[in-house]
Symmetry: C2
Subunit: 444 residues, 2 copies
């Protein structure tokens, strides 16, 4: 295959490194890494040829090329042999037309990219299939590690454990003992990962896992790893593809560690550079007000994102005070004429509940994006006629407790305006009939 990609320093230090090298930071400056593709090689195929190829494979195959990620393999991890690929048929998620919710927000055209309707229930599958496949190949080429490891309590460990299990690779998840319930960990536990509960705090776990990675004992699957961004950028490619190879006016995205914001940029950038689309959409990054370092920096005109102490938020997966990918996100915002918006707990919870009333079933993070969108629309930044895509990052089936508490009015600092508790009725035909009639009348 004539295509190739390599690690390169995000800040521009010289040097290129193969993707199969276990490398997490620039060896020169210790900063972030990027994956760069040989665009000249990719340009030997025309934009129309790429579109046709991607269309032919999309959701169809042959296995594993029906995957939304591996159907774009030349743009993601070129040169990876077929039999190294570890896939759960990720990607290819719905771009759902949210007519009723769009109208409620005063928008003509609102779409939800349902990244959470996936194998492990979050967009993390997209990046993890690339990371685990590349590690799989590296191991075939002689890399020796005891496990692929991370120190996550959430979607990352779920995705890592599932892909590791599919590949037959050992996976280890490190956590502070007593801080995380079995329910939160049940996906990696079920997938047979070695779940290590340590008598220390989260930073203590990170310190150990990073040292294990430095010593080559484990391969580190953390969010700093640019291989994950290569998979996640296919979200942008799919959005364009599903809109008939055009880009929306806005993409609204909830973000904590900010890697996904850069991934969207990377995808849209590649589409434009290779001539498949003519322009970039605008980017709106949405944060919870209680964990909003990017919002604070961007609205103050600062290029450096100062860490904050993240507070309790229902949007647990984006409760991050010191985002690893902040410099990446700043670049994405620069290049996509971006904005950053933040939402309070009450705004997040009510946004979820309103959206659910139109048949969506939104995780708290997606609700952060919907709440931010509402505010941007009110401020005239997003306009009625704009075509808007909201990226939904996880399945709300992972957030039953959040939904229950909202509807039982048990969330602190939240009024639960849209709570819809069960109605007790006597087991009598006419009483039930009366209740039905009042409900139907209220809906019209």
């Amino acid at each position: 295959m004539p295509y190739n990609a390599a690690f390169r320093c995000f800040a521009g230090c010289p040097g290129r490194y193969p993707l199969t090298q276990p490398l997490y930071r620039c060896p020169t400056c210790n900063g972030l890494l990027d994956v760069v593709h040989d665009l000249d090689a990719l340009r030997t195929r025309s934009a129309d040829t790429w579109k046709r190829l991607f269309e032919e494979r999309f959701r169809r195959g042959p296995w594993p090329l029906g995957s939304g990620v591996w159907g774009k393999r030349e743009w993601v991890a070129p040169g990876l042999p077929d039999d190294a690929i570890v896939s759960t048929d990720e990607g290819g998620t719905s771009l759902l037309r949210a007519d009723r919710h769009g109208r409620a927000l005063g928008l003509d055209e609102l779409w939800i990219k349902q990244c959470g309707t996936s194998h492990t229930g979050s967009f993390k599958d997209l990046g993890m299939t690339v990371l685990v496949s590349v590690v799989n190949q590296a191991i075939r080429q002689g890399l020796r590690v005891r496990a692929v490891a991370c120190a996550s309590t959430g979607d990352t460990s779920a995705a890592l454990a599932a892909y590791g299990a599919a590949a037959g690779l050992p996976v280890a998840v490190l956590l502070p003992r007593g801080k995380v319930s079995t329910a939160q960990l049940v996906q990696p536990i079920a997938a047979g990962a070695l779940v290590l509960a340590l008598d220390t705090d989260f930073d203590g776990c990170m310190t150990i896992v990073q040292r294990l990675a430095e010593d080559g004992v484990v391969y580190l699957a953390n969010s700093m790893n640019p291989l994950r961004i290569e998979g996640q950028k296919t979200v942008a490619i799919e959005i364009a593809q599903q809109l008939g190879w055009s880009v929306p006016d806005w993409v609204v995205l909830p973000s904590g560690n900010l890697g996904n914001a850069y991934a969207l940029y990377a995808g849209f950038r590649m589409l434009k550079d290779l001539g498949l689309t003519a322009r970039m959409p605008r980017l709106a990054v949405a944060q919870a007000e209680r964990a909003d370092p990017l919002y604070r920096a961007w609205t103050a005109g600062q290029r450096d994102v100062a860490p904050v102490v993240a507070g309790e938020t229902v949007a647990t997966a984006i409760r991050i005070g010191n985002p690893v990918s902040a410099p990446r996100a700043i670049k994405a915002l620069d290049e996509m004429d971006g904005v950053v918006e933040a939402a309070t707990e009450a705004e997040i919870c009510d946004a979820a509940a309103r959206a659910d009333r139109t048949g969506l079933y939104t995780c708290p993070h997606t609700a952060v994006a919907l709440a931010a969108l509402e505010k941007l629309e009110r401020r005239g930044i997003v306009r009625r006629g704009d075509r808007v895509v909201v990226v939904s990052t996880a399945s709300a089936l992972k957030f039953t407790e959040f939904k229950v508490k909202y509807h039982e009015r048990a969330l602190p600092d939240v009024e639960s305006t849209w709570a819809n508790p069960p109605v007790h009725v006597a087991p009598d035909y006419h009483r039930v009939l009366d209740t039905l009639e009042r409900h139907a009348a209220a809906m019209t």
Copy 2:
């Protein structure tokens, strides 16, 4: 459009009725209804033309024809106008190649049809989009009902509420008060359904909702309704499509009320009748041993399925002692050279756990099918070289408690052979290293 379909008595009474008529039983014999299509009209297009049309639309559109159900609209509910369709982009789910689990079972080719990776997290979306769309059209044509209603506590109410909300139609769910937790009901609650908690038992709820339906107050979305089968039969069409318009040797399906068994038959039958495929696959219906009326009847050579008292099972959605669609399932088994297998609680739980260890994350019902498959393979009925598709009916994200209890060894009558509890380790580099090395050694 020249295509048309109508309700007809399943047992053969004369008379045809429009799909938009609120009809749940044959007006003559009070038995089950079927949907019949005008196959001669459908034959005016060749098999290759149908394949091409279905391929063009699949996951692509234009909206809502990217849906796995509505991409086959002529075979499902012909004549339904575009703007009556209520879709969440259902269907088009992954046909996942389960290599590691297949090898563990001694099978060369095992595929999992992931129907639970869908908008509301179960295969019920497929039938509900058809039912709600047809009701939506009936209402436009003058039907007056106070709500679309059901008396379900599980996936049916979740799907009905979501589609009702997407359409802006009132939905009512009737339940016995105090028997069902908010968590079990949170999907319909979030979707704004009127959830009526009645001081009676489940039968009391059914009696009231059926009387409301007879009186025309509500439209009944129960599993007797053949419109749901029309949507569910697209699972068969998709399986064939995803296998390159060929059929597998076996389809293994967990079933309680048995409508889904008939739906698979209806889909494969239509493919064969219209020349898209050459033969029928064999059908294996899997039941939990504690709710196995079909298993008992079929293995005893009986054509009538006698009700049983269903016991407690982890496979809650198929805990049904008196299946509504039993006559339909007998026909499916007859025509598909079918078998029925049953699995104990321990077999179900261990089958789930073993599959999860290979990166699947299986709901208890899918585990019933996997356990049955294992038994059929051991008995030589399913053979190594057979191409096998297991239908996964729901997302395991709905069954966190089941997974937690298994891995905490807290399920009654189950040994949890594959439990994988967290390992407590001192927060020390060398202790962690030792544990990793032992784990890696155990995997090889």
